[in-house]
């Protein structure tokens, strides 16, 4: 059975690459895989401390600053996963040139596996968030499961972009250098650190359609307000994700024939 030109053996290989990527990232460190959990956890801890106890930031109309932290992390957690996914998949082909040159396999598996690496920080931040919610007195709710379709769409979307960036990075290595800066600009241009209502009215209308805003809202609505994300936003994200993924896959497959000129 084949889906999009990938079969069972490829699925098995994908799992292998995931395991490999996870190991290699922390290889040589004493704590090893602990860092996969500790890094995002530390980041979240710092954010909690700074915004809840130092700045005492509040959302408009909210009573505690913990609710701001919860609001922030429910958007920042997925963002952390997105930037991790993009960075890993962008360098996935160039970073594994040994494999690409010596093993006959479908190279598109590398950026796909790279993108899936973002699941780790996402899982950590989501657990942290749930803990915060419970501490702040919120009861767990079934509506929280509504984040699952958003999560899937997020990874489909990011994998599509990751496939493009990974292919371009083979020819223009500057891609991996530019990426962190672009990500920083994207972060502050999207309503992740401050609510949409703080933006000028004119910009708000456009920012609603910002994919990262749609993704962040997809987490915030179920987790914070026990509501399903707006159906139009899910449909919009679904169309966007599928287009990005298919486009990215086609782009990667066209370019991979030229990889041997550069790797």
């Amino acid at each position: 059975m084949q889906i999009l030109g990938l079969d069972r053996a490829d699925a098995r290989r994908l799992v292998n690459f995931l395991r490999m990527g996870l190991r290699d990232r922390f290889l040589g460190s004493t704590l090893g895989l602990v860092w996969a959990v500790a890094n995002p956890l530390l980041m979240m801890g710092i954010f909690t401390f700074v915004f809840a106890f130092v700045f005492r930031s509040r959302l408009p109309g909210a009573e505690t600053s913990l609710s701001f932290v919860i609001w922030l992390i429910s958007g920042y957690g997925p963002w952390l996963a997105i930037s991790d996914s993009l960075a890993t998949s962008t360098g996935s082909v160039t970073g594994n040139s040994g494999l690409v040159k010596n093993l006959a396999f479908k190279t598109e598996l590398l950026p796909i596996a790279g993108s899936l690496m973002g699941l780790v920080p996402l899982a950590v931040s989501t657990c942290y968030l749930v803990a915060l919610l419970v501490v702040s007195g919120t009861r767990p709710s079934l509506s929280w499961l509504a984040i699952l379709p958003v999560l899937v769409l997020q990874f489909v979307f990011i994998t599509g972009i990751g496939l493009c960036l990974a292919a371009v990075n083979v020819f223009v290595r500057d891609t991996a250098m530019v990426l962190p800066n672009v990500l920083m600009i994207l972060l502050f241009s999207s309503p992740i650190f401050y609510p949409l209502s703080e933006f000028p009215k004119a910009v708000q209308g456009v920012l609603q359609f910002h994919p990262f805003q749609v993704i962040a809202e997809g987490y915030r609505q179920p987790l914070l307000y026990r509501a399903w994300p707006a159906p139009w936003s899910l449909a919009y994200l679904a169309v966007l994700s599928v287009m990005a993924f298919l486009g990215g896959l086609a782009f990667f497959r066209r370019l991979k024939g030229y990889f041997d000129a550069r790797i």
Binding site: K101, A104, F171, R254, A261
Partner: protein, 401 residues
């Protein structure tokens, strides 16, 4: 990658000009008109390619290569650095997509394209081997057994559990070779990998290859080490700037590759009507009549030997006759070689013939040669009842109490 993997083209395409004397054995590696051009990218063409165009410039690393390897055989590919050997292997192995032409490979491929460690040097030898196996789709049940085999073969001892960056170059090569040949593959693509490690390890490498060959493996050995080709391969070819410029029996190919001069055959020569094949029967009295032309009035010495080739071992002498004078005056002669009760079991042997004269210091100066070493040997085809051993000696034994 189990089963058959193919790139383009209909199956069973006829192979023109791919020296196939005996079509009995199934061909396991085939390529027809295979070309690989590396695109050359500069600042401008990179963006043209990324945005959907094509690059005009390319470097043809492999041009119209057609070859075939039958089951149970190794093909030797000789060539200098940059001749396209690695490109050929990688294209056959499916790492490179061919620019044109077809590749058909039937069977599980184990490839050693370079002794580079496809992985992180921080990994331990143990983890590297495990990773290598899992990347090649080895099942969980097999991994345990293969892991201990790799550890034993690589002879790294306690170092097996140390990170690879603590290894010497030879240890790395040993680890890599052990892992790469651990899978009982059907097809081996080997690039320059047989000269790794010390003599002890090389012996083991050869033994492993012989075992694999005996189990029916096939493959291609690409190297500039012609001695390895002589030892392992019956057939060979030479690559030069991406083209196959020569092919044939590996000794003949090596002889031409090295540009070894052949004796000029002026004073004495084997006659043009010397048959290319002599037939004989096992354990029958055999007489071979060899026509020669002598053109000088001085003693001409004749010698001959029967040799055989075994894959992975090379050539070995079976029968040999001391040089004897056969003529001292010009004219055509027939040298009769008589072997009573021919002690060879059925098969194909190489009949090697030498004509020489005495040099100034008692040495022999070769006048003309028919030998595998010069790629122009004569075949001795022996038929009869099959025997257990290769040569049959008139030995008798009994136990004494």
């Amino acid at each position: 990658m189990p089963g058959s993997s193919r790139v383009g083209g209909p199956p069973g395409t006829a192979i023109p000009g791919a020296g196939g004397e005996e079509a009995s054995a199934r061909s396991v590696i085939e390529c027809v008109d295979l070309s690989k051009t590396f695109v050359m990218l500069d600042g401008q063409s990179i963006w043209r390619v990324i945005l959907g165009g094509d690059s005009m410039k390319g470097f043809p690393a492999l041009r119209n290569a057609t070859l075939q390897v039958r089951q149970g055989e190794f093909l030797g590919v000789l060539g200098r650095n940059g001749a396209g050997k690695s490109t050929l292997l990688r294209t056959l192995g499916g790492v490179y997509v061919p620019s044109s032409g077809t590749v058909t490979v039937a069977g599980l491929v184990s490839a050693i394209y370079e002794l580079g460690m496809a992985g992180n040097e921080l990994l331990t030898g143990h983890d590297f081997a495990r990773r290598w196996l899992s990347l090649h789709g080895t099942g969980r049940r097999q991994v345990g057994r293969l892991m201990s085999e790799i550890a034993e073969f690589a002879e790294l001892g306690d170092y097996f559990d140390n990170p690879i960056y603590t290894y010497s170059a030879g240890m790395k090569a040993r680890l890599f070779f052990s892992a790469a040949t651990s899978l009982p593959g059907q097809i081996y693509l080997i690039d320059e990998a047989l000269s790794v490690g010390d003599e002890h390890f090389q012996t083991k490498c050869w033994r492993r290859l012989r075992e694999r060959l005996a189990a029916g493996a096939s493959g291609i050995l690409a190297t500039h080490d012609w001695t390895a080709v002589l030892k392992l391969c019956r057939q060979g070819c030479v690559l030069e700037r991406g083209r196959i410029v020569d092919r044939g029996s590996s000794p003949a190919v090596v002889q031409r590759y090295l540009g070894l001069p052949r004796p000029r055959a002026e004073s004495a020569a084997f006659a043009p009507h010397l048959p290319p094949v002599y037939c004989a029967l096992t354990e029958e009295d055999t007489t071979l009549s060899i026509p020669i032309d002598v053109k000088v009035a001085s003693p001409v010495w004749f010698a001959c030997s029967v040799e055989s080739f075994r894959q992975g071992i090379g050539w070995s002498h079976l029968l040999q006759a001391e040089p004897r004078t056969v003529a001292s005056t010009p004219g055509p002669y027939d040298v009769e070689v008589t072997i009573p009760s021919l002690p060879l079991s059925p098969g194909e042997y190489s009949l090697n013939l030498f004509l020489s004269e005495r040099g100034p210091e008692g040495t022999f100066v070769t006048l003309d040669v028919r030998s595998w070493a010069y790629g122009n040997d004569v075949t001795l085809s022996v038929t009869g009842k099959p025997r257990e051993s290769g040569t049959i000696l008139p030995l008798r034994w009994r136990a004494l109490s």
